[in-house]
Symmetry: C2
């Protein structure tokens, strides 16, 4: 099974005839409401507690109102819990660049649909890396917006303090145009003027990934100007990761526990395990993680004044092979989240730039800005992609 779209009749909704996105097509992750269509959530028992929505999610309505048309709802990791894109019920959407590898998740079908040319762009969600990881693995532009900036109404909640709604595109112009529509603002004309290179994050990536990203990093530095090496997480990326895992797992448990209790849903073993780990965390662990979040937010704020962006590898390696054992995959998941956890922890926006490969497999370079600088990141993407 490699279809990026969910099983059953294809969901299609035409946008209005004119508008900035007229003629464009998009796909919608099956955690985002389309009126009248059950939101499947990637799990056969999710619609038992999530009633068929009467209204479109805010993002969907806004895109339809701008002229774009829906061509389908896409496969997701179960209730967004996963970053690899292997769904035990709906299968693994194709990663067209490297068909023997996973597409990344949880917005797996949205990334796959865009990468396969089945639509112009696609909506995803990103709590722990669910847009950033598949955009790196599939070679796409992808954004995790500033936390709280895109209206989340009509989207299935996972961890409210980390949940965001983002999107994928193949080309920078489409990518930026969707952003101008959803943010309701034009991009700034000027590019940022300072580029920070997160040496701890680069050091965390495989050597061949570091090498593969160097030409992109050089182009980016040439575009922006000043280039400075910094340590992004003085406490350690793995320390940030541990804090964010505590916060996100605790919130996920709180979100899904009533569903688990009343429905005893079918789910892949590792999804259940992740939820159960969340149920066993203590207030002491949550309190320590909350303090680390304060420190991490302060760090990102001081690193990223207006006009400054930070770059890092989006993932430490390209997409793993499909069908690996949990024993093999679990350490890979942990390593990936060391590079993505800062997003949920601090709320800053991040854009994945495609363009590098390792042995033919895509891997992306990320740019991160201070809170609210989403449009400046889109401006960089356009400059790099143009």
């Amino acid at each position: 099974m490699t279809d990026p779209f969910v099983p059953g009749p294809r969901t299609q909704v035409a946008g209005i005839a004119s508008g900035p996105l007229a003629g464009m097509t998009f796909a919608v992750k099956d955690l985002i409401d389309v009126a009248g269509v059950p939101t499947g959530g990637g799990n056969p028992d999710w619609p038992r507690v999530y009633p068929t929505p009467a209204r479109h999610a805010w993002v969907v309505q806004t895109l339809l109102d701008a002229g774009a048309s829906i061509v389908g709802k896409t496969v997701t990791d179960e209730v967004s819990l996963g970053i690899l894109g292997e769904n035990a019920f709906d299968g693994t959407p194709l990663n067209p660049a490297v068909p023997d590898r996973v597409p990344g998740g949880s917005s797996s079908g949205s990334a796959s649909a865009v990468a396969s040319g089945l639509c112009d762009f696609a909506l995803g969600t990103d709590s722990g890396g669910s847009v950033r990881v598949p955009s790196s693995f599939c070679g796409l532009y992808g954004i995790r917006p500033t936390h709280g900036r895109i209206d989340f109404s009509g989207i299935t909640v996972q961890s409210p303090s980390a949940d965001t709604c983002g999107w994928f595109a193949r080309d920078a112009a489409t990518f930026a145009k969707v952003g101008e529509t959803l943010f309701g603002m034009k991009m700034p004309d000027a590019l940022p003027t300072t580029l920070l290179v997160a040496t701890d994050a680069f050091g965390f990536a495989d050597d061949d990934v570091q090498q593969a990203l160097m030409p992109m990093l050089d182009r980016l530095a040439a575009l922006i100007g000043t280039r400075t090496d910094v340590t992004m997480a003085p406490q350690g990326l793995s320390v940030w990761q541990r804090a964010q895992r505590v916060l996100q797992s605790s919130e996920s448990w709180k979100t899904f526990e009533p569903w688990l209790d009343t429905c005893n849903p079918r789910m892949a073993f590792n999804v259940a395990r992740g939820l159960i780990i969340g149920s066993m965390l203590t207030d002491a662990e949550r309190n320590a993680a909350t303090l680390m979040r304060i420190e991490a937010r302060a760090r990102m704020k001081s690193l990223l004044p207006p006009g400054t962006v930070l770059c890092l590898p989006t993932t430490p390696f390209p997409a793993p092979l499909k069908g690996l054992s949990l024993r093999t995959l679990n350490p890979l998941r942990e390593r990936i989240s060391c590079l993505t956890s800062h997003g949920g922890l601090t709320g800053v926006p991040q854009v994945n730039l495609p363009g590098a490969t390792v042995a033919g497999a895509p891997v992306g370079l990320s740019i991160v800005g201070g809170r609210g600088t989403d449009l400046a990141l889109l401006r960089i993407a356009l400059a790099m992609g143009g």
Copy 2:
């Protein structure tokens, strides 16, 4: 979904033309091998690691050789992990006595098929109560044989130190005849002469269950003669239960961990949770449980010399309603296992005698003998049922 048989084509195998069970029909729990038929194990991902068997399980071959014919394979709780009989994939087999209630598990479909009159008898397995609980809830004769006495080859292992293969029947004559076939011996002519009443176990049951069982207990005492009240578990039934849960959960984890690792199977949340709890137990907990097992075995051996049997309520209450929340069901599961854990802990045989009801719902009286006294228990069943 209330079919006791597994989805798909019905498995039918004719027994030989003559023999002690000629003309009889039986059903086979889908954890027990029938040659050429995938053993489903109650989970859609179990056949991925459990190859289609080339041979019948020993019990199946023995029954076919005695003239009985297979009429179907029956629904089971996932890989035998459950005692209520609600399978999230295959549904809940009908409990014909009380259609709004669960049939009990894990040998749910076997109990349902016999209780519904679809076959003369049916095979189940019992590690933690999987024959005894459904026989109590459905109003059937049911046996958990002495551990190790019935050849387990060709049956899916769960917890080797507790696993047994038993059977259900509606009438005592059929029930006993199957026993003589599988044990390869005739029943003794004489009945036991001493009846012990486990007052701690009776005290653990609901008041109305105790009352409902009194007439059966009086008949049993009249049949046997001497009647003495005893405390079955001086350390506490709940202490025995905790020890057995540690041992059984540890063994289950060891059994299924390779499958979980390679297949990441789909399973109901509570099944995953039970396995994960097993993964977190410590050697210290296992060591303490092993010592308690030694004490419990010694206790049962001293209580049950030849000629003595013990009786207790099989379950503390009749079948719960279907579809209850985990929050409601989990304490019920724990309470049930306080009355069943002695079986896996000590290995003694146990027979459920039907005949009592509470508000129309069946509940059974159990007789337990020393190791190897299975046929004496069948003799009692025949005397009570005749």
